[in-house]
Symmetry: C2
Subunit: 207 residues, 2 copies
DNA sequence: CATATACGGAACTGACCAGTTCCGGATACG
DNA sequence: CGTATCCGGAACTGGTCAGTTCCGTATATG
């Protein structure tokens, strides 16, 4: 049976035998998820983008929902290393130090993936939990650290509600990306920090 | 928009053709949209819930996307009447006066509908515009009025960024409903007003 | 080189759904 | 009461997609 010679363009190394390709497939799934949403995503799209066969995906994941669940979990592996977080001595310094292109790109990607699955969250508690752990929690955790440091320094009142405050900036970013369709830009984050987060935290306006 | 028939000016014999059932059908569409999302929603679901035939829906709307577009536009008709907005004399008073069960229910419904279509927003500019006008804009408009009044009173600095500030509370609500899956409760809004919105607006803490 | 393994791809099945067509019945109006 | 008109419902069509099966081939190992 003649097989059409497929366009070579094969930068891909030889085939591997274990599950080495999982990351590529999960990344492809996340891309498709962000572009088309859960319902619009097809297994074929993911397979094609990962240069894999549909059968290969089903050898590893038993269903579309399992694949998505795993892909969202994979998002979490990109978490910031808490050991390398900025520690500038002021709350504002710490927050501003987080405004870096790679961080913004990563946040935006997470939010776009989130946009693709929000409609599923109400129907799938498992997916909701995975999304919470991959998107909401890591960001909140970093902010909690900064806020607690600020309390320890006496920079903000000790009775500040760290739990809720840690979600303010993420909420503003999510609203901007998901509801307004605008990108997250440094100027926006600077405004959010100086005019919302810091006043809300109770930082005494300096100068 | 784009009704299949427009016969208002020409009453004919037979059944009335004034599209009396449109509201019920659009409401049904919004319910299904909120429950299952755009892709999960089927025309049959909407027809069944509205106790109508599928053919009836296609007599009025040429496609599923037209129906959804119209339904989202219909959401806007629930806008608050600006003439009856509270005017308590303080920014906090105005904001707190908006915390009422009917308002909260309406906001939550809008946000759940929004959850069902966020993944479409990037792909359909028309739907994005309709959603913005029905969900984002009305709420922001009310907050802008309150903020401008506060500026006129000298309650907050005249250089406050009304445009951005009017989105802070909506962003917190949206994050809570869409990302955390929690309901909008009065206590949460009170916290948001007292600990985020007012400090951000620059209200002098009053004893 | 021989053999075992897993991969990509294509073909297939069954379910589901948008959109269409048709019909029997209900309703207003003359 | 007759008739024009619209309605709800059911049947149908065509396309799409999840999930399965099969096969030829590339790779690893000995």
């Amino acid at each position: 049976m003649m097989r059409v010679e497929q366009a070579e363009a094969k930068p891909r190394p030889g085939r591997k035998r274990d599950h080495t390709r999982d990351p590529e497939i999960l990344d492809a799934a996340l891309d498709v998820l962000a572009e088309t949403g859960y319902e619009g995503m097809t297994i074929d799209m993911v397979a094609t983008r990962a240069r894999a066969g549909k059968a290969t995906l089903y050898r590893r994941w038993s269903s579309k929902s399992e694949l998505v669940l795993d892909a969202v979990g994979w998002l979490k592996s990109r978490d910031l290393d808490h050991a390398t977080l900025p520690d500038t001595g002021t709350l504002r310094g710490d927050l501003v130090a987080m405004i870096k292109a790679p961080n913004l790109r990563e946040s935006e990607r997470k939010l776009k993936v989130m946009a693709g699955i929000v409609s599923m969250i109400a129907r799938s508690p498992e997916l909701a939990a995975a999304a919470h752990e991959a998107v909401v929690e890591p960001r909140a955790a970093v902010n909690r650290i900064f806020l607690r440091r600020a309390i320890d320094r006496g920079e903000i009142p000790p009775d500040a509600d760290v739990e809720k405050l840690s979600l303010v900036a993420p909420a503003l970013m999510a609203y901007r990306v998901l509801m307004l369709g605008k990108p997250v830009e440094p100027e926006f984050l600077l405004w959010a920090i100086d005019h919302v987060v810091l006043p809300a935290a109770g930082v005494r306006p300096t100068t």
